[in-house]
């Protein structure tokens, strides 16, 4: 049976207690996107400044459990300064790491996800891998990433 230490790695608690990139950006020029997890009531707002195919700045507000908040904080640190393509690859890789349960329900194989995981370096984010053992919490971890994906789409069509 997985234990607390699998879920709440030190680095996660650190991001929870000291969230990075907390705050707002003027929108426009920034994109403002809201995410919402109806199961637990978690809310997140992602502000995204994209120009020349690069994520220049990211800010986060909202409230929720330690997993959703630390995941958002880590996400912001990971994509800030990356190209949009890199950010998208990161989203895919992160969701690949998380989606073992969900993709089974879809009846898809996990091969593609496994391959992506090998190609993209997740770094600190791998601390969230333990969440997979707690299926109910996966949606907490992926909330900010889904919101980010929406923000990137929005920026692309802006």
């Amino acid at each position: 049976m997985p234990g607390l230490e699998d879920l709440y790695r030190e680095i996660i608690l650190d991001h929870y207690r000291n969230p990075r990139n907390r705050g707002e950006l003027a929108a426009p020029p920034a994109q403002r996107v809201e995410g919402y997890n109806p199961l637990c009531g978690d809310e997140i707002v992602v502000y995204l400044l994209v120009s020349d195919g690069e994520v220049n700045d990211v800010k986060i507000t909202g409230q929720g459990c330690s997993i959703s908040q630390s995941s958002a904080s880590m996400m912001s640190a990971a994509v800030k300064g990356k190209t949009v393509d890199e950010a998208r690859a990161l989203i895919r890789a992160f969701k690949g790491m998380m989606s073992i349960h969900e993709s089974r329900l879809e009846g898809e194989g996990d091969d593609a996800a496994d391959q992506l995981l090998e190609e993209v370096k997740l770094g600190d984010l791998e601390a969230l891998q333990g969440v997979v053992k707690f299926p109910v919490r996966i949606k907490c971890a992926t909330l900010s990433w889904n919101t980010l994906a929406q923000g990137l789409d929005q920026a692309a069509s802006a």
Partner: protein, 419 residues
């Protein structure tokens, strides 16, 4: 000498529930989520096994011995459950898969026949989705109006303007006990007012029947639903009691075998109660299992069950507030006489998911959720709460374990200070 019910022998009761012997994360299981679903005593499992192992067959119409026996046992369980809630006749008790289905049955069958555009259904702000969504669907489909009864600072229904609120109302839907706040609602008072103004009353008794001696006639209601899995019974069985005249005037809900007297290629005749509302093979073993659960509860005595829970709830409210002070905020009536053993709380601003996760490490099961009551959550201004709920197998040690583990949770997330 006054008749005070003796307290339950919880140590003995715990032994009747095999799951309470299980180790979780190396410690004992402290199950405080009975409002979600109760555990099952060995007796219930034994009875279901015995049916499957000695006399299982499909019910009704079978002429051979084990089919007769299975039918007799299922109908005996119906009679038993009916008696348990004070229903005058077993044929007024309909079985389905859960109480959600039973409320949908009322919305489809009674509702589609009797509710038309502009008709009002009055609900409370503390309803479970099971008693909201079916009415929202009917609202979308035919433009009925939903009206809401709010509650006061002590989480009791605000009945000050009940008479005005009842104007134009055809049906009042309310839970006899809130699955979030624990509030025990004044069903009789509301039913009398509703009847006086010509409305019928549907009671969601999912949280009430398991914990209180029940008499539907004394409650004076029209439709009364509850669910087996919260009542020490198996999953897969829900119950609806309603007055025979109402059921007889209602069209069938689901169509199929068992619910007809005749089927032609151009029409059918529904059969008599209760089977008219029981299309297809019923949950046979589950109904019999629910009967065994009722036996178990009657053996304990429902007055004692209520008294035990009132005492333990009082202990919990006292213990938690004394130990954790302002760190804990409990959403529910203060007086244990006004409420059941469902305690929703938030703890030191830590998200309910995180609280529940850390409690789990100590083997403590509480629910962190909106508890299928999102309108209530919005009304309370929270996304979710933690909810600890008790039943016959819980004791003060379980509450102490919760209280200790909350302190640990605070340390884990917020560091070493207790407040």
């Amino acid at each position: 000498m006054a008749m005070t019910p003796a307290t339950l022998d919880v140590a003995a009761i715990k032994k009747d529930f095999p799951i309470l012997d299980v180790e979780v994360h190396g410690g004992r299981l402290v199950y405080l989520d009975s409002a979600s679903s109760s555990q099952k005593p060995q007796h219930v499992l034994d009875v279901m096994n015995e049916v499957y192992e000695t006399t299982y067959a499909n019910v009704h119409r079978g002429v051979y011995a084990i089919a007769e026996e299975a039918t007799a046992r299922m109908e005996a369980a119906r009679a038993k459950v009916a008696r348990f809630i004070g229903a005058p006749a077993p044929r007024e008790l309909i079985f389905g898969k859960n109480v959600t289905e039973m409320i949908n049955l009322v919305a489809h069958s009674w509702g589609r026949r009797n509710l038309h555009e502009g008709d009002v259904v009055l609900l409370t702000m503390m309803e479970h989705h099971a008693n909201i969504v079916p009415w929202l669907m009917l609202r979308e489909e035919r433009g009925i109006e939903l009206r809401w009864l709010d509650f006061d600072d002590d989480y009791q229904l605000d009945l000050s303007d009940l008479e005005q609120k009842l104007d134009g109302v055809k049906l009042v839907g309310l839970s006899a006990m809130s699955n979030v706040l624990g509030t025990l609602n004044p069903v009789r008072q509301i039913a009398d007012a509703a009847h006086a103004s010509g409305a019928l009353v549907l009671v969601d008794a999912a949280q009430y029947v398991p914990h209180n001696a029940t008499n539907v006639m004394e409650l004076g209601v029209d439709f009364f639903g509850f669910t087996g899995h919260k009542l020490l019974g198996p999953t897969g069985v829900g119950c609806l009691w309603a007055r025979a005249e109402l059921l007889e005037a209602m069209p069938p809900f689901l169509g199929g075998g068992e619910m007809i007297t005749d089927v032609r290629i151009d029409g059918f005749e529904p059969t008599e109660l209760p089977w008219k509302f029981e299309a297809g093979t019923p949950p046979i073993a589950e109904i019999i299992g629910l009967g065994a659960a009722v036996d178990y509860l009657e053996h304990l005595g429902m007055d004692r069950v209520r008294e035990h829970e009132r005492e333990l709830t009082a202990y919990a409210l006292r213990t938690l507030t004394e130990r954790h002070g302002d760190g804990i905020v409990i959403q529910g009536p203060k007086d244990p006489g006004d409420r059941g053993g469902v305690i929703s709380f938030s703890y030191r601003g830590i998200h309910p998911h995180d609280v529940s996760q850390v409690l789990d490490e100590r083997g403590i099961c509480v629910r962190a959720s909106h508890h299928c009551a999102k309108p209530l959550m919005r009304r309370l201004g929270v996304g979710a709460t933690c909810r600890a709920s008790i039943y016959v197998y819980n004791d003060a040690a379980d509450i102490d374990a919760l209280s200790d583990a909350l302190a640990y949770t605070g340390e884990f997330f917020l560091g070493n200070t207790e407040r």
